[in-house]
Symmetry: C2
Subunit: 468 residues, 2 copies
């Protein structure tokens, strides 16, 4: 009867199977409009199921309007159900972006060492924090983030960078990327042009371009943004990484900082200060943020992705008061809020000063790895290269005067089993920094760093011999 | 000397305090450019700190370019540091959007009962899942979400709604709001107009408007979208809630579903199907999604905010294959990914079928509460009102023919201590549904519902007597 096949152990209820079978017969036209269905009694008998099961299936069909039944008359197929069949999706396989090619040594940038992360401590904290979470925080608890976390972050930026920020100016985000995404929406009311350091983080460039911004590049040298090249233009904001220029590594000197602030004031524009990894500075303490110099004009973006682990997805933005309400509105219509568990765990991690300890430990470790990288480079390459930037962060820019590191070179490295990034990948105007490579070392052990440098040497040798 | 005051128990290192004091004196012009600083020895003696402490402060100043020191000569203030002082931020207090007014009875919509959520079970799962989380998932683990969760969701939508979706078409989001936000970005390449049900969820309307879409409203009646009013126009997509129209509550009948699909095919547009709470249907099982009728044209949006708890921030979208790569690109530049802990816990919750059990339990409870609401309404209001929509969801639309529920009425209710929402708040064209109110009951206990209805009665009485 009606060609219904039932599978008793499929995990799908029998009623639903009957409903589905009948429904497809109706939309595909095998059961025509106005046609009568068997009574529930007949159908149940035929399919050897209980009559209740059939009644349930008929109810589903009826309440969704597939069938119509009137008191005393037969149940019939409703009108207007016919649909031509569409092609089923092709059963392709596709590469997920989570599947990473396995490299022998992966010198990618922006990667903290997850092996050193105090997992069990974190798990304790997240358990404790989740247990203690007040009930209202299981519901919608506000776009700004948990109040206790905002307060702890205010304490943390003051302890670690001498930056005085009020908890109510601190808004939690899902990492620095979301912060920039929302800032781009916020600032789009002020103009269509934005200045960026060149080179800069290409991901951040794309966030701004994706929001329709026209990018005005400002060149960078060893000390960061070349403020003497700032010209009067139509930009509404400038995005900078003064604590550790990405990718070239300079720390913006005080006179340039003052010049940048003066420039922003004269031209009435905002400064977005992305402080993505200033905690890891190996000579002296972290640099004081620009924010301290003009909290009404500088929007500060911080993140815990590099200090703790990227999957945490917690960053923050320190916002001038006039943006607060607009920010809330935007966040509410973008993704509402961060989940509370990680926020609560991070609050505890900060409150108990465990973050301070972790940062100190990691700074020491990353500093040693940087030394190992420099030493390995010197042993292998002698004096044909020089490091760029200050002793800070998780990656290093290496200059090889006369070399041209392009896509072809990166591909050749891949064949050799290592990943390095040409600075040109992050350049807005291509070709200016072709002689520089980025090497991320923070997440690699001494052995891996040395092995990677050896392979890089072989690879470069082969690249040069082959005439590229 | 230089008016430096040190606070020994402030939590800020002495070196940083010295650095900060000197820095502000330089940017404020009390220390002039070229001026010599005391030697580290003198300064240490004067401040009664170790010389190392002073050296550290000087190093910070030097590496940031505030001071310059050359071998054999005095340390001097660098050039170009002077900045005019800005006004400090005013110390205002502002209302956080997490601070909710306390109502006697809060009939807001879209609120599951958090009191009934099996917290301790969830905490067990999140602990277990966090402990078992592979190391690579502490880093960036992919924009799509955890593979195991995508697989479990595919199983869940099949079990619960008979919807066949492939795991690789399922993309995890931070709730349904983010799903729509990203879809708006995705679809903006296809046009500038989008159709929406009228009335519709005003938050979702704002998401689309915020992305620059022009909204074309399509009227809704008791059975949902009035497909006979669909006209040929320039829209690239239509946003619908066919399983339980928000806010009016209709389940879209099969013939209208077929008409909608045919319309979308003829006019080559996409359908965004927001299935925000179809799990809670009190007569018969959940409605089969539109998605099943045309997986190449329907983009399905689901969420766990209503089934579990809003702070979870996990939703998903089932995407036609041709959008996959673009989706990944967008998500990467919006906020990269969801955090993994909640994803892993939800995976377990689904795998062990605990979600199925929870939904069954809550469906029963919410169904009872709906009955209590209907009964209380009848007792208080007699026959002057009628309920709209099907027996589903966490809220009910009530029609009072002849009444005008506007902002004034909502304010009057607030004075009486209850929150109700005029349907007009969610209307695109105002004034069409002035005689309807929304009452969210899912999160309220019987006593609260009855009390709320009593207060609503008093309030309406007073509103009518006062001539509004």
């Amino acid at each position: 009867m009606l060609g219904i096949e039932l599978h008793r152990n499929s995990g799908v209820s029998l009623a639903r199977q009957i409903y589905q079978a009948l429904r497809s017969q109706m939309t595909e036209g095998r059961l025509k409009q106005g046609e009568a269905l068997p009574s529930t009694r007949e159908m149940a008998k035929h399919l050897a199921v209980s009559r209740n099961t059939v009644c349930e299936a008929y109810e589903m069909l009826s309440s969704e309007g597939f069938i119509e039944s009137r008191q005393g008359s037969k149940t019939r197929v409703a009108n207007g159900l016919l649909l031509e069949k569409t092609d089923l999706p092709v059963d392709d396989t596709e590469e997920s972006d989570s599947s990473t090619l396995s490299y022998l040594v992966d010198f990618r940038t922006g990667q903290p060492d997850l092996r050193c992360f105090p997992r069990s401590l974190w798990l304790q904290l997240i358990r404790k924090a989740s247990e203690d979470l007040p009930q209202d925080q299981w519901g919608y608890s506000g776009t700004e983030g948990i109040p206790a976390l905002r307060k702890e972050i205010a304490g943390w930026v003051f302890r670690s960078k001498g930056m005085a920020a009020r908890p109510q100016d601190i808004f939690i985000t899902s990492g620095a990327t979301q912060a920039l995404h929302l800032l781009a929406e916020l600032l789009s009311a002020y103009g269509k042009d934005i200045m960026m350091e060149d080179p800069c983080h290409i991901g951040m460039l794309r966030v701004l371009q994706g929001k329709g911004f026209n990018i005005l590049p400002v060149p960078v040298d060893k000390r960061g943004l070349q403020t003497d090249l700032l010209k009067r233009n139509s930009a509404c904001a400038i995005y900078v990484t003064p604590s550790h220029q990405f990718p070239l590594g300079g720390i913006l000197p005080a006179a340039r900082r003052a010049a940048l602030i003066r420039y922003a004031r004269e031209n009435d524009l905002f400064i977005i200060e992305d402080d993505y990894d200033s905690e890891f500075r190996y000579c002296g303490p972290p640099v004081a943020p620009l924010y301290a110099m003009d909290p009404q004009r500088v929007i500060y973006v911080g993140t815990f992705s590099k200090i703790l682990f990227p999957a945490l997805r917690i960053g923050y933005v320190v916002l001038p008061h006039k943006f607060h309400n607009q920010w809330r509105y935007l966040r509410r219509h973008v993704d509402v809020q961060n989940p509370p568990f990680e926020q609560a765990a991070l609050t505890e991690y900060l409150r108990t000063r465990k973050l301070d300890r972790h940062v100190r430990r990691m700074r020491k470790l990353y500093g040693q790895r940087r030394e190992i990288l420099l030493q390995a480079m010197e042993e292998k390459f002698g004096r044909v290269w020089r490091p760029w930037g200050d002793a800070s962060g998780l990656h290093l820019a290496l200059e090889f005067p006369g070399m041209r590191f392009d896509e072809k070179f990166a591909l050749r490295c891949k064949e050799f089993g290592i990943r390095v990034t040409p600075v040109d990948d992050h350049s807005i105007r291509k070709g200016v920094h072709l002689d520089k490579l980025l090497v991320g070392y923070g997440h690699l052990e001494a052995k891996e760093i040395r092995q990677g440098v050896s392979v890089l040497y072989e690879c470069m040798d082969c690249f040069l011999k082959s005439g590229r």
